[in-house]
């Protein structure tokens, strides 16, 4: 079997101390296969964002370890983690993904520029083409709609050909049409380019774009589902809630 793109082993995250301690993740072990689109679902406060942050080298665990491919993140210094994020990880947040003073093009090429790398122009053109933002490249974020901004963010995540892309409710702020477009592009990135994507979502329809869904509740993985459809997901959520 191939190495998972990312995995957490016995991951535990406790916020605070003593009486106020909150266990956001409780001994979670999970693997994410390369070239797969995984959605993480669960009720609010179940630990989805926490898990994603720990996998994405943004936060560290209280206990357990996280691997990105063969690399163990736990125990790395800030500098190494920063470089890892820069070179191997892409992000799409729910909002405020773009630097307001930079144009769309500058935002997309920012990670490469920060790393001092040349942008792969052919790849850049391809990504821009697929996302349909070719005519927006010289605009600033304030001159774009929310959907366009999220597509630029997706382009930025894809442009540096990261090993894995994380999204925390990337379509959460979008209407259903723009959301569907964005998710369609993410699906395409997985199918056409073999991109690995892990996405946190609340929405059954969004989750149905994924290959696999991992369900979290109270810091535990409680279930998973392959090749979901919106109906199957809704049913599952209902059963999980009861």
């Amino acid at each position: 079997m191939t190495t998972p793109a990312a995995r957490a082993v016995g991951a535990t995250k406790i916020y605070g101390e003593g009486d106020t301690a909150v266990t956001a993740l409780d001994n979670v072990t999970v693997e994410f296969a390369p070239g797969q689109f995984t959605a993480i679902m669960g009720p609010s406060g179940s630990g989805k964002s926490t898990l994603m942050h720990c996998l994405a080298a943004l936060d560290d665990l209280t206990e357990g370890s996280v691997f990105l491919g063969d690399t163990q993140l736990t125990g790395m210094g800030d500098r190494e983690l920063t470089e890892l994020r820069r070179d191997k990880i892409g992000f799409i947040f729910q909002s405020f993904n773009l630097i307001p003073t930079l144009t769309a093009r500058e935002n997309i090429t920012l990670p490469a520029a920060i790393a001092g790398r040349k942008t792969d122009t052919a790849w850049f053109d391809q990504v821009v083409e697929i996302l349909g933002i070719g005519d927006r490249l010289s605009h600033r974020p304030s001159e774009m709609s929310g959907g366009q901004q999220q597509r630029v963010a997706a382009a930025r995540a894809l442009a540096s050909r990261p090993e894995i892309i994380f999204g925390d409710e990337p379509s959460g702020n979008l209407d259903s049409k723009s959301g569907a477009e964005l998710l369609g592009f993410m699906r395409q990135a997985v199918d056409v380019f073999g991109q690995t994507i892990i996405m946190v979502t609340h929405d059954a329809t969004s989750a149905s774009y994924a290959d696999r869904i991992v369900f979290l509740a109270d810091g535990h993985i409680v279930d998973e589902m392959f090749d979901p459809t919106a109906e199957k997901v809704l049913d599952r959520i209902k059963t999980l809630e009861t």
Binding site: L58, R79, T82, F91, F96, L102, S142
Partner: protein, 834 residues
Amino acid sequence: MVRAAIRGIWEHKLRTLLLVLSIVAGVSFVAGSLIFTDTIGGSFDALFEGAFEGIDIRINPDVDQGFTSLQPAFDADVLTIVESTPGIIDTWPGVGGLVNLSVGGEVQSIQGPPNFALSWEGDPTLTLVEGRGAQGPTEVAIDTTARERYDLAIGDTIGLAATGAISDYTVTGVLGGFGAGPALFTFDLATATSVLGLDGLYTTIDVAVEDPTLLQEVLDDLTSRLPDGVVAVDAQAAAEEQAAQLKQALGFIQTVLLVFAGISVVVGVFVVYNAFRTVLGQRTRELALFRVLGATKKQLVTSVIVEALVIGLISGVAGLIGGILLATAARAAFSLFGGSGLADGGLVLAPGTFVTAFGVGMAVTLVSALLPAARASQVSPMAALATIDKPPRRLTKQLVVGSVLGVPGVVLVALTGLDRVNLLTGGIGALAILIATYVFGAIIGRPFVRTIARFLGNTPVRKIATDNAARSPRRTGATAGALMFGVAFVVAVSVIVVITQKTATAVLEDAVSAELTIQSAGADPTAGVSPEIASIVGELDFVAATQSSRFAQGSINEESTFFGSFEPETVEQTYFFDEVQGNWSDLVGETVAVQRAQADELGLAPGDPVTVDLGTGPEQWTVAVVWDYSSSVDDTQGFYLPTSTLADRFPQGNVVSIGVKLTGGTDPDQAKATIAELIQTDYPFANVTTQDELLADIQGQLLGLLAFVFVLLAMSIFIALLGIVLILLLSVFERTRELGLLRAIGSTRVQIRAMIRWEAVFVSILGALMGVVVGTFIGWGLSGSIFGAGFSFVIPWTWIGLGLIASIVAGVLAAILPARRAANLNILEAIAYE
């Protein structure tokens, strides 16, 4: 609301601290200046309390030159006239003049107040504090100033002489001195007369009258009896006047200090205003939320004002403490430079100082907060719902205000540069330009930063820094503007000082052909040297000519002036002239040589009569020569008399300087060594200097002046830098999310720090460049009024270069704290930030 305001102050401790610091710096300066001058003023009062007690009338020469070598003397016969006047019961004749001092075999030639010798035999003018008065030819008593300044004690032996060979004297006592100014050395009358070479002359006669109620009658009687050039004055009135003069000098010092303190307060106002504006801009949503919840506009304004008042109050207290510290430091520095006696008493904390310190602190914060508060209160409740990104505001207002102030300002300063209007008008113009530039900073900020960035090449880090600096042009302009003030003042002063230096050195370089100058080694060069040195040096085979000059004060055609002097025989060998009208050989007896500018002014030509008064009444003299140096020389002292005439009129006076022209091919340094060796024993206080040394001397003195002004301006620049720190911190705070995002997608801490640093450097270069341009222009303008139209303008490139480098360094330093904040942001908190 008020509670919210106070909580705001507490929650943003660092911000509050920096705000307070920018106000405190200015307030401390104001309070410190007041405390310092009050303290010195207090000791002056103590000093003059009881001065001249027991003396009713003082007889002086008409021209009272104070403690200089120009102090003329009058004939000792005057004493008989005084004694024979009815109603007088006691008289104390005395002599006084400059002396040179040697302690432990070392000639004391410090810069600063002179050493003054006088006779004292127990007259009421001075009081003994220790030991006894000097008696006989080998004793001297000193005052407390001399004791502190030269570290002397009773029993010590010191060397003193007016100009000739040193004689040794033993210190027998210490008298109460003035604390500042000249150090006093007293002898008995006979010894003082011989030390000063004033045989048969007096410089003062103190008089006590029988019936003080008849003082005016006695004064009138004396006045009618005294010869021309000698006057009788009411001693008490004279003492009061002397105290008043010292106080006036002190008042001048106070004004200078307060002007610089004022500059730093103004810079503080701009910094604090900018900070309030930025903070309130950032809090738009919060304020709007208050409005949604039903707060009135008035409540919003009140909350901001309360915040300002609390900060102002804290600043007032801290400023007062800072002022005490500053005054203590200033007093220590003052006593180092010869004001020892005044440094003894406690600091004077006048109630006015308290009021001023608190007043300034409050005023600065209130003034700075009022406008932003008013604007903030206009926030509509809708703003709470709006997204953050506001389109940049148009800068039309800036353009209008800047032009309305700037254009007349430029015109006024330009007119001053052409010497058409006076210095005050120029100053007002300069102020207008400064404010206009401050306002324009918002307009030129963006294109300027972009240009520099293009010039430096665009790395992504620099690109983001550039965009950030250009993002809120008003904020960037205002931050740079505060620095601009300080830099502009520094540059303007440097321009004036450099031009002064050029003017001063031009006289030596382009007007004086003599290679060596012999002057007094003492503190006051007007103490002069013995006229005999000229004849001794003139004998040497490598000396082609000597030129002795004397100095006098008086008036010409009723305009008071200083007179220099020429020796007509050698004047052409020792000076360079561009124009000579008349014959130098005619410059003998009662004649004057007039420089072209002054001759034009008074409409004089050779052969014309002029009225000259050397303090002994008006006389009819003749213009012998009208002359001019080369055009580069700007000599303000335009009237020269024959040296021999001054020697006849003031036999006790010395030669101020002797110029020595060497024969061709003689090495000046070698000649200097030979002459110094030759005159050393007989004239230990005569100092031989080469032209180069004199030039270096002038430069050194002006450099000292410049350094002094820089110290006074340091506070303003410090406040401006605090402003940069403050605004950067606020910007970092405002951009938390962006910084978090940058970190999330892989920017290293080093890159984030560099970004903030570049932003700071951009702002400080902007401020420095604006300051340099404006300061150079203002410096040029004010020079026109100071030096007259057509002065030769010099741009102090070295200073400008140093200033720019210093600004960049300062920018980097100012960025340290904000950059660290930005780099250490917690990424997760930053991206979750609302």
